[in-house]
């Protein structure tokens, strides 16, 4: 019998009866800041597991392989806001955000397929977070146009520094992100989304502060943030 193997393969793949496309890729959605009685940073089993685990940065380096196809080998992401800068970020923050995406508290359908337990376990996420935390934050992150830095500084000192720190260092224990060294375009988008409650895992205290911000205020403070630098570890 001489059938073209290609033909056989095509017929067989067409016959294979399997679950229809990619339902696991659809991100779940749980209630967030838009909901009455919203509680920021709720207890999460996976998050607690990752936080309790004794993370290993060396193992994280190997597992980060899956992430670096987008977030880059040095963790610096891309300046156009497609991928955030992660180098030097607090491990707790990375773990929280990953678990928020995984659970559907933060909407990110593009990231979601790469966050699931079928790809990374809670322990592996902790390892990756430990690895990223010890990478040096890049100096070459994307900056704004520099036009309103005085306004940006004023707003930052008045509204943001009490949580995110004088130098934008954040607070690992409180899950407040390091904002220094982050890309301007990403900061601007996420700050705006937080204000407009599109970033549904936002801290309500952020919304209180941001609700009176104009787009120009957001841009000014984001520009200022993108220029903050941390002393080398």
């Amino acid at each position: 019998m001489k059938l073209k193997p290609t033909l056989i393969a095509v017929v067989l793949s067409a016959l294979a009866a399997h679950p229809a496309s990619a339902e696991f890729q659809r991100q779940p959605r749980v209630s967030g800041i838009e909901t009455y009685g919203y509680k920021w940073n709720p207890s999460d089993q996976d998050m607690n597991k990752a936080l309790a685990y004794k993370a290993n940065a060396k193992k994280g380096r190997a597992t980060y392989k899956i992430c670096k196809g987008c977030h880059q080998a040095d963790g610096s992401g891309l300046a156009d806001a497609s991928y955030p800068q992660l180098a030097g970020q607090h491990a707790s923050v990375i773990i929280k955000q990953m678990m928020d995406i995984r659970a559907g508290r933060r909407d990110n359908p593009r990231m979601y397929p790469f966050s699931g337990e079928w790809i990374v376990s809670a322990e592996e996420i902790a390892d990756i977070a430990a690895y990223l935390n010890q990478l040096p934050p890049p100096a070459g992150n994307g900056k704004g146009d520099g036009a309103n830095l005085a306004l940006g500084k004023h707003l930052y000192d008045q509204d943001c520094a009490s949580c995110h720190g004088k130098n934008g260092e954040g607070d690992a224990k409180k899950f407040y992100p390091m904002v220094a060294h982050q890309h301007f375009a990403y900061l601007k988008r996420e700050t705006r989304e937080s204000r407009d409650q599109g970033r549904r895992n936002t801290n309500p205290d952020m919304v209180k502060v941001l609700k009176n911000y104009s787009d120009a205020d957001v841009a000014a403070v984001s520009d200022y943030l993108s220029r903050l630098t941390l002393p080398k570890k």
Binding site: T6, V10, S13, A16, S21, A22, Q25, C67, C70, I119
Partner: protein, 202 residues
């Protein structure tokens, strides 16, 4: 289709002896088994001729074993592979993976050189507009893969494209599911281009 069962049983008996180091005779039997069972489609040395069937020569051992096990369990669906795997034990599959990983891969064949530049760009950088990660992060800059991530260098364009389609359609669901999202996000042209670039890698 009849398999040379006797030869296989002899090989299995030898392999099943619990010896960790295979003797020369055993290795020879294993090669004979591989040739008898697999060569029709995958070539005696794992360099298949028919482009619908993957080249196995030089494939990552860990990846290959996982795929063989998944064919056996049905996690990776194939009406061709399933009955063949059903006749083999986990130990046999391990030995087969070792055998093919050791074979020398033959160079691939590029069908459309005009697509290589786009393929290379996507392979090395991905496409941030559509959130397609780079291929090199998992499959290595050389295309040689790494452990559970398969070698893709020199692979048949037809086979690679067929896998992209299966992933995108949710019909290949074994292993980590990174590839399903990646394949779904690539355009037809990107998929072709990256498959050509993979075929061009030595």
């Amino acid at each position: 289709m009849a398999y040379p069962t006797q030869k296989l049983l002899v090989a299995l008996a030898l392999l099943g002896g619990g010896l960790s180091v295979a003797s020369a005779a055993q290795a020879e039997s294993l090669a004979a088994t591989a040739v008898a069972l697999c060569a029709g489609c995958h070539g005696a040395d794992g360099n298949s001729v028919a482009t619908a069937f993957p080249k196995l020569a030089g494939q990552q051992k860990k990846y290959l074993l996982r795929e063989l096990m998944d064919f056996k369990s049905g996690k990776r669906a194939s009406e061709i592979m399933a009955p063949v795997m059903a006749t083999l034990s986990e130990n046999d599959l391990t030995e087969l993976a070792v055998y093919y990983a050791r074979q020398k891969p033959a160079p691939g064949v590029v069908g459309d050189p005009a697509l290589l530049a786009l393929g290379k760009d996507l392979y090395l950088k991905g496409n941030s507009k559509t959130d397609v990660p780079s291929c090199e992060s998992c499959h290595d800059e050389t295309g040689n893969g790494d452990g559970k991530f398969p070698r893709v260098a020199g692979q048949h364009v037809d086979y690679t494209l067929d896998q992209f389609r299966l992933y995108a359609a949710g019909k290949r669901t074994n292993g980590a599911r990174v590839m399903q999202a990646v394949a779904e996000r690539m355009s037809e042209q990107e998929a072709r281009a990256v498959a050509e670039y993979m075929a061009s890698m030595p």
